[in-house]
């Protein structure tokens, strides 16, 4: 019998420019501890670190210099001898670890589980590995093309099916929103940094000087990261806080990581085109079948329809696919949805309200959990100047790897208590 699960604590390390100036003095152990104790401090009625029964963390994965040891992390948190699982699942890792932390409470095995997504973004080896297509067949089947080249491939299909102008106008809109949200989030990496572009100027520049247009588009911010929540059974939630947030549905799905697989995957029971509602002649590298599968399953478990979703917190820049997988806009309708302002704070679906990966800080291993923490803040009505007017149901999505635009995906649906 599955127990209902609630979130009673949430928190993250400080990503603000002022905090990051001191980053060199901090190891990843410090940052995990900073997030862990921020989470504990947020529990309104208090929770002793000794009460934590189990810990689930994750980081991006691949090469590790010093990460990778579950015991190191428990020790860094000062929580020896609590049990701990360390998961690696690339950019959706903190979604996968949340999924497992949820299951530990829902199953009845533990009553207080600490979940933290983290990443040491500036670790050179880890960063080098991230630039490979992290292939399931190793690097030589990618001929020197790496993770950044997926952007080239995505652009090709975006221009083809969304139109070049609409794609780039959606990009500009999204960048401006990134700064808008980040400037209202004191923990965001771009907090206090003015947006360097204006939409009208950029769109006229696109018509006259495309090279200059591209030069002016600000790139997203890359940072370290650590953030997470405390999960307890719903029946215990009021012992810790008067404003718990309930987990209504979680799902995690995987598909092959080889970039070309969606065009040929001869498994009879697996129909990529129908899963993603895509005509067969419109293969689209911007689409992640794993994302569609995890989103559909999480929404089904939560018994919600697209109309029920009040805001979404997928902390990634390629946002068309998230919108389309939720069903809030038609397939290949993501660009129009953004251009029309529907992802702004007063739009149909405020989106990545903490600033997104580009504005809060892209840390891979804590991307998903950064979105999760923002979802909890929004549901509790504590988001201040970036508070969404309607905040009853939030969807958090994430993808990792390649295989289309994401071979693995985790999604969760949260509801206000």
């Amino acid at each position: 019998m599955e127990r209902k699960v609630a979130i009673v604590g949430f928190g993250s390390m400080d990503n603000s420019p002022e905090a990051r100036r001191k980053d060199d003095l901090k190891s990843w152990r410090y940052k995990i501890a900073e997030a862990g104790y921020d989470i504990l401090a947020s529990v309104d009625k208090g929770m002793d670190p000794k009460d934590i029964q189990y810990i689930v963390t994750n980081y991006h994965g691949e090469a590790t210099v010093e990460g990778g040891s579950p015991a190191e992390i428990v020790d860094a948190l000062g929580m020896v001898p609590a049990g701990h699982s360390l998961i690696t699942d690339q950019c959706t890792g903190s979604g996968t670890s949340f999924h497992d932390a949820y299951a530990l409470v829902a199953s009845g095995q533990y009553d207080r589980v600490l979940h933290i997504g983290w990443d040491s973004r500036y670790d050179l080896l880890n960063r080098a590995d991230k630039r490979c297509l992290q292939s399931n067949v190793d690097f030589d089947y990618h001929l020197g093309f790496d993770h950044f080249h997926t952007t080239d491939m995505a652009d090709y299909f975006a221009y083809k099916y969304y139109g070049k102008r609409d794609t780039l106008e959606a990009l500009v809109t999204n960048v401006i929103l990134r700064y808008w949200y980040a400037n209202r989030n004191p923990k965001a990496g771009l907090y206090g940094v003015p947006c360097p572009i204006k939409k009208d100027e950029m769109m006229s520049l696109l018509d006259t000087n495309e090279e200059e247009f591209r030069r002016r588009i600000p790139s997203g911010l890359s940072t370290d990261g650590a953030s997470g929540v405390i999960l307890v059974p719903a029946e215990d939630a009021k012992k810790y806080t008067d404003t718990p947030v309930y987990v209504e549905g979680v799902a995690q799905k995987n598909t092959p990581n080889y970039p070309g697989w969606p065009m040929h995957y001869p498994v009879k029971k697996y129909d990529w085109a129908s899963i993603t509602n895509t005509p067969l002649d419109k293969f689209d590298f911007l689409c992640s079948p794993a994302l569609w599968l995890s989103t559909k399953e999480a929404m089904k478990r939560a018994k919600i329809e697209p109309k029920d979703i009040d805001l979404a917190e997928p902390p990634f820049p390629a946002i068309f696919m998230f919108l389309e997988a939720m069903g809030v806009c038609p397939r290949h309708g993501g660009a129009k949805f953004i251009i029309e302002g529907e992802t702004a704070i007063d739009g149909r679906l405020p989106f990545s309200t903490h600033g997104g990966a580009g504005g809060f800080g892209k840390a891979s291993g804590s991307d998903w959990s950064n979105g999760l923490v923002e979802a909890v803040i929004q549901l509790r009505g504590q988001a201040g100047k970036r508070q969404a007017p309607k905040h009853d149901v939030v969807v958090i999505q994430g993808v990792g790897g390649v295989g289309g635009m994401g071979a693995m995906s985790a999604t969760a649906v949260l509801r206000r208590g």
Binding site: E62, A63, L125, A128, D129, R131, C132, L133, N136, V137, D138, F139, D140, Y141, H142, L143, G144, F145, D146, F148, H149, T151, D152, M153, D155, Y156, F157, Y258, P259, G260, W261, M263, H264, Y265, P266, V267, K268, F283, F285
Partner: protein
Amino acid sequence: MHSFFPEPAYQIAVYREPVYWRERKGRYRLVGSKCKNCKELWWPRRISGVCPNCHSREFEEYEFSHEGEIFAFMRDAVPEPLMGMHVYGRDRRIIAAVKLKEGVCIMPTEIVDCKLEELKEGMKVRLVVRKLRRANNGNWLYGYMWTPIKE
């Protein structure tokens, strides 16, 4: 960098010579896997030896067609390769997806001996093998690439 090799010979942990050696048939001749039970074809080869379709563990080698057609193509817009990821003699390569008659899609791969402007979706191409980079031990590594078939 060793003075014998003008190209960067240092590389990062993920590039392991045994992997190149193990995958030489795939990289030089497009040899993938054919499931002996359900007859499905797989590219790249099923290294784990499990067929996702019927879960059989019995495979034989299958050499894929050396001709195909361009499904998608684009200019490599990443300006600087990361240390150790240089590809010999080329930058701003043409990235492509090539569909073979067996239905398999090779992606990412590269189109060579041709300008971007000359390419069209559906254009027929044939397999060529070209230098990719040096391994840590100085060996040349080659890769499968494609060039348009002249009518």
